[in-house]
């Protein structure tokens, strides 16, 4: 029972957060953390568990965002209707990228994802139906609750929390399934896994497609919260990099790594912007960049691995230490 004490406390805090920190900005900050955590956790499936670093994940994010806004802008439907369409397109793109490139070594796959993301962004910029350079806007005045256009961040917070729990649940289920078993083997040594009969390419492809679909949901939710998407904010490479570093900073390949990463980076970015941004000297990003460099330098496995290791050290048993991801004896 004691094992569940701290996780339960953590869960309770997460659920109670917007009630404890109830100013609009704090609630919105919480909703943003959850939103990015969804995207980063989705990325984690292919980037962390399958070890395939996708730097172009924003293309799936953009699919969801554009599908949601498009459903409203062109068909006057609720943005929610766009979500299934976004998922379908994302999964199709993932399959198109994955089939030829997942059999290659990591760097080629990463470059392919960058190229596809940029290509889609450039194409969308030239398609007027998708808003071109101007972008698509969502409902400014909500017609009903399904328009997902709320003044307060509270409904967004709980909506995103539900989706995050679902995403983490799917990730956990996958990690404990046959696919997860194969992925761990592949991560260890792909050649050995293949020689033992693991269908490496297929398994990596499934992980990629699953990740793509979930990322597009995150994109759709993002669009409903901000009510706007354009090629830069929905398909720009910076978003890919952001969710990637959140997962990496928190701990890629760990279930809660992306959440930890988002919980650190999103408030860090907002608060450093609040404090330093107005001065106009770019200090926000100097601080932000320096912190990322320090973490990469001293804890390349991510913050969560550090926390796990310290936690295991308290227990002081070899088994728990190894289980917590330590690479050497405490």
């Amino acid at each position: 029972m004691r094992r569940f004490l701290w996780p339960s406390v953590a869960l309770a805090l997460v659920i109670a957060y917007p009630l404890l920190f109830s100013t609009p900005f704090q609630q919105r900050l919480g909703a943003l953390v959850l939103l990015y955590a969804i995207a980063a956790s989705a990325w984690n499936i292919v980037g962390g568990y399958a070890g395939q670093v996708s730097v172009g994940h924003v293309v799936f994010f953009g699919c969801g965002a554009y599908a949601a806004m498009g459903a409203y802008a062109h068909f006057a439907l609720s943005p929610l209707v766009g979500i299934p369409a976004g998922i379908v397109v994302s999964v199709a793109i993932a399959a198109a990228i994955g089939v030829p490139t997942l059999r290659l070594s990591g760097h080629y796959f990463s470059m392919a994802t960058i190229a596809v993301a940029e290509l889609v962004r450039l194409i969308v910029t030239n398609i007027d139906y998708l808003g071109g350079g101007v972008g698509l806007s969502g409902p400014t005045v909500p017609r009903n609750v399904f328009d997902l256009s709320f003044i307060s961040a509270l409904p967004y917070y709980y909506l995103f929390l539900t989706v995050l729990v679902a995403t983490l649940g799917i990730t956990w289920w996958m990690a404990n399934s046959r696919i997860g078993f194969y992925l761990r083997a592949i991560k260890d040594s792909e050649r050995a896994a293949r020689s033992l009969g693991a269908p490496a390419s297929r398994v990596k492809l499934y992980a990629f497609m699953l990740s793509a679909g979930l990322t597009s949901v995150a994109g759709a939710l993002y669009a409903t919260m901000f009510g706007f998407v354009d090629p830069e904010s929905g398909l720009g490479i910076l978003i890919s990099v952001k969710i990637l570093i959140m997962a990496a900073l928190g701990g890629a390949g760990l279930l809660f790594g992306p959440l930890v990463g988002a919980a650190i980076l999103v408030p860090l970015e907002e608060i450093s912007n609040n404090l330093l941004g107005g001065k106009g000297a770019g200090l926000t990003f100097v601080a932000y960049g320096a912190i990322i460099v320090l973490i990469a330098r001293f804890q390349p496995g991510g913050i969560l691995t550090l926390i796990n290791r310290l936690w295991a050290r308290r227990r002081k048993t070899p088994e728990t230490t190894v289980a917590a991801g330590a690479t050497h004896a405490p």
Partner: protein
């Protein structure tokens, strides 16, 4: 013993109430300033920040040398008992998401009475949506996308002329130039495919077609180009009479350099503000772009005039000459402060009413607008502009319409 304590407490309480009462007479009016202070558009944001700091100085301190310029004579806002105005600057980082987050922070944490900004139309769109939800006035001085005033918003006001106004100005200007003997039959537009470039190009095309002229040749390119040789070669081949440049600073500099490298001089070059107005552009390639026309609502004016004095103050603060974009934003800010002054309060609804009732005359403005009066969509219907020309490669002078011209327009385009 107890009685003394109570008496002491009462005294302390009444003193603090008195102080608080006095403090509210010397209160500060906080206004949110949301601009790109980092990222690709940082140059504009930083210049705008300097402009607003000059504006704050003019409002908060007595500046009798500016004559009857609104809010300059007294120190502080007379309508609020001399309250000082303070701009809380926030960086939108060039991202609509960050812009919206910062707008929320300005409204709910900094408790600003109103917001001004945000330069890029996409960011103005999302940030003003938050202001609308919270019932906070949002005054925009320089975003030109048409859809900003098409949302049925009640709290959004825009002082700047928009793309359709400029298109009409260009059309009328070219008509006049034709009457004066220049060839203006074939027009080419060079524009990037951002929301700025696309929306302006679309509007210019439709205005030209509506008025019976041929649609301009459309040369689009992706912003932040590494090379623009092909676009210039296309122009060299097609030889249009007039080239309209709709570009941001980075590409504008590249175009000017490439045109010189390829020895291409259009007969007439007309720029749509943005890049060609940036002081960086003039410093870098002004001498290669002699004779370029530009649209502007800002003109320095004769020495000693309020505009010239403001230009001087701005130069001292920022180190650069005042440009049209910064000036338009500064004007938007003055309009907002004037409304707050008339409202006599920081209550958002009162400010909104005062904004709706705005009726400023040309001599009360630093810009060359015909006045400031908002229609029911929040657009200033008296916004206007003039055509300026970079005649010496260093400074722009007003050349059209005749009533506002300082000098005659010089043709053909000289280049370098």
């Amino acid at each position: 013993m107890r009685f003394k304590n109570i008496l002491g407490l009462l005294c302390a309480a009444s003193i603090s109430v008195l102080l608080a009462g006095n403090a509210s007479a010397q209160q500060t009016v906080k206004i949110g300033g949301l601009f790109p202070l980092s990222g690709n558009a940082a140059s504009t944001g930083v210049h705008t920040k300097a402009a607003l700091e000059v504006a704050m100085d003019i409002i908060n301190n007595a500046h009798p040398e500016l004559g009857n310029f609104p809010l300059a004579k007294n120190a502080g806002l007379a309508g609020l008992g001399g309250a000082k105005v303070e701009v809380v600057f926030a960086d939108n980082q060039g991202s609509p998401a960050t812009g919206q987050n910062q707008a929320l922070r300005l409204i709910t944490e900094e408790k600003v009475a109103a917001i001004t900004g945000a330069y890029q139309s996409g960011i103005t769109l999302t940030a003003s949506a938050i202001a609308e939800k919270y019932g906070i006035p949002f005054v925009n001085g320089e975003s030109v996308a048409a859809n900003l005033t098409e949302r049925g918003f009640k709290w959004f006001f825009r002082t700047t002329p928009v793309a359709s106004d400029f298109a009409k100005i260009y059309f009328d200007f070219l008509k006049d130039m034709k009457a004066a003997g220049a060839k203006t039959d074939s027009v080419a537009m060079v524009h990037d495919n951002t929301e700025y470039g696309t929306s302006v190009a679309t509007v210019i095309t439709s205005v030209f077609k509506e008025n019976g002229q041929n649609a301009p040749l459309d040369i689009a390119y992706a912003a932040n180009a590494t090379d623009v040789q092909s676009q210039v070669l296309q122009l060299k081949e097609k030889k249009p009479d007039v080239v309209i440049m709709i570009t941001y600073t980075s590409d504008a500099i590249l175009f000017a350099k490439t045109m010189q490298a390829l020895d291409y001089k259009p007969a007439m070059l007309l720029a749509d503000d943005a890049g060609y107005s940036d002081p960086s552009f003039i410093k870098a390639v002004g001498k290669l772009s002699v004779g370029a026309f530009n649209r502007s609502s800002w003109s320095v004016g004769p020495p000693g005039s309020p505009t010239a004095l403001i230009a001087e103050m701005y130069k001292k603060k920022s180190g650069d000459e005042m440009d049209d974009t910064a000036a338009r934003q500064m004007q938007g800010f003055f309009v907002l402060c004037d409304a707050i002054d008339r409202a006599g309060s920081t209550d958002p609804a009162k400010i909104q009413a005062a904004l709706k009732a705005t009726d400023l005359k040309p001599d009360q403005l630093m810009m060359g607008y015909k006045g400031v009066k908002f229609d029911e969509k929040g657009q200033n219907i008296l916004a206007a502009g003039v055509i300026i020309q970079l005649q010496d490669g260093e400074n722009y002078v007003a050349v059209w319409p005749k009533a506002s011209a300082q000098k005659e327009p010089v043709l053909p385009y000289k280049g370098w």
